[in-house]
């Protein structure tokens, strides 16, 4: 009896191993390569959303601005970017200061970029390759094609989180917008005597 059982177990083990191998072959290999493509597809979908909702559409300014803000908060990780931009002063800021800064920062981005879509003059975004950078981020290259002028190289730093993609930084011809903003705001604080309040005042004045 013992002699008969061993072959049965062995057969089950072999069958089990075979089906496991078949299952592994059916899964996309490896999972990381798929995500780089996802990052690229994400920037592609952002481009499409901009064209569908913001460019050349006959809507009132407030509607365009509201749509831009929605697109911004959904596609960009504004809180993380804001925290990076405030830099070393984030740690010494009070919760109220942090909150106000993030709100002012988001408003600044909206007022800076939303109006640009009104004056559209035939530009397009040509999306290139995506590659993995850092621990779990991706860099998607692209170029803004302009009717008058050479193309502008733009790289998008994308991070997957909670099954969603979010943009952390935009690099224009190699210059990181996040780094530039961070260094500029650090200077505003420095010029204001090292007070975060100086930056908040300047931002309020800019938007007022």
């Amino acid at each position: 009896m013992t002699k008969l059982r061993i072959p049965a177990l062995t057969r089950r083990a072999v069958l089990g191993a075979a089906s496991a191998a078949a299952l592994a072959a059916a899964l996309p290999v490896p999972a990381l390569a798929a995500t780089a493509e996802e990052a690229r597809a994400f920037v592609e979908s952002l481009r499409q959303a901009v064209f569908d909702n913001l460019i050349d559409v006959d809507v009132a300014d407030e509607v365009r601005v509201a749509r831009f803000r929605d697109l911004l908060t959904n596609s960009f990780d504004v809180p993380t970017i804001g925290r990076f931009v405030l830099g070393r002063y984030w740690n010494v800021a009070t919760p109220e200061q942090r909150q106000e800064f993030l709100a002012l920062f988001e408003n600044m981005i909206v007022s800076l970029y939303a109006r640009r879509f009104r004056e559209y003059s035939g530009e397009d975004l040509q999306i290139g390759q995506a590659r993995a950078v850092g621990t779990n981020d991706f860099l998607v290259s692209s170029a803004i094609l302009r009717p008058n002028g050479p193309p502008v190289a733009v790289d998008w730093r994308v991070r997957p989180a909670d099954g969603q993609m979010r943009i952390l930084d935009v690099m224009v011809e190699g210059a990181s917008l996040a780094v530039t903003q961070r260094q500029e705001y650090a200077a505003v604080i420095q010029q204001g005597g090292g007070r975060i309040e100086a930056l908040l005042e300047a931002l309020r004045r800019q938007q007022g």
Binding site: S176, E184, Y185
Partner: protein
């Protein structure tokens, strides 16, 4: 009797200017860390020079660039740019060699020949048009960087604009060592030297027409924004692997 006093006066004034232009590092540790990261100990002086440069730009350079851009057809502007770039080929070649970049040096020397012979003295960038010999710039500041020299404190140079201790030194060496400049100086061709400098300034200003104004309108601290952008684009020009910013 007069000369020693005069030179002492000049030296004393320069020293006073330099000292007043220095900022004392802040005492607060957070502010101190930010100050060191900014690496701009001459900030007060730099801001004054920056303001002066802004004035010259508003009064002279920008209007001239706008007129130049307005009346010059695009192909002519491009031709001027190509010609000026071609004039730089000798000094670019020297720097390519100093950096030990043989591949870049061969591209530069090929470009020099092809563009001068077949590009009407460099007006047509044959190398770029065919796509085989793209343009790249190389200056002595970049060479120093490749040799491992750090950029040093930020400097705003009168008329020349944003720079660093390393890059300013590089500019001086370049202008002294540029074969074209040496030749023009030897021939006493002051008008040509002036013309070349003027056209270089105009061409550079035209390329950023609109962008600078927009940056100024939208930034809280235009001086700091320029300082940041200068350093980032300079690092990219030098070809150093950029440090990706760390997001929490």
């Amino acid at each position: 009797m007069l000369r020693p006093t005069a030179s002492r006066l000049v030296a004393g004034s320069l020293l006073a200017l330099l000292l007043s232009g220095c900022a004392l590092p802040p005492k607060d540790p957070v502010a101190r860390a930010a100050w060191e990261e900014a690496n701009d100990p001459l900030e007060p002086l730099n801001r004054v020079v920056f303001g002066f440069n802004q004035g010259v730009d508003i009064l002279l350079l920008k209007p001239a660039a706008e007129v130049y851009h307005g009346i010059t057809p695009d192909p002519v502007e491009k031709g001027v740019r190509n010609f000026l770039r071609n004039l730089r080929s000798p000094i670019i070649l020297v720097n390519d060699l100093l950096q030990g970049d043989i591949k870049a040096a061969s591209v530069t020397s090929s470009r020099m020949m092809v563009n001068t012979l077949f590009g009407v003295g460099g007006i047509i960038d044959v190398g770029e048009e065919t796509g085989d010999l793209p343009f790249h710039d190389a200056d002595f500041g970049q060479t120093l960087a490749v040799w491992g020299v750090g950029e040093g404190p930020y400097l705003v140079l009168p008329l020349l604009g944003p720079s660093s201790v390393r890059d300013a030194t590089g500019s001086v060496v370049d202008s002294l060592g540029d074969p074209v400049s040496i030749y023009l100086r030897a021939e006493d061709a002051d008008a040509l030297i002036l013309g070349r400098t003027g056209m270089t300034a105009l061409d550079a200003r035209v390329r950023v027409l609109g962008d600078l104004e927009e940056l100024q309108e939208t930034s809280l601290d235009y001086y700091a924004a320029i300082r940041s952008l200068y350093r980032q684009t300079r690092a990219r020009e030098i070809g150093l692997e950029p440090e990706l910013p760390v997001f929490e």
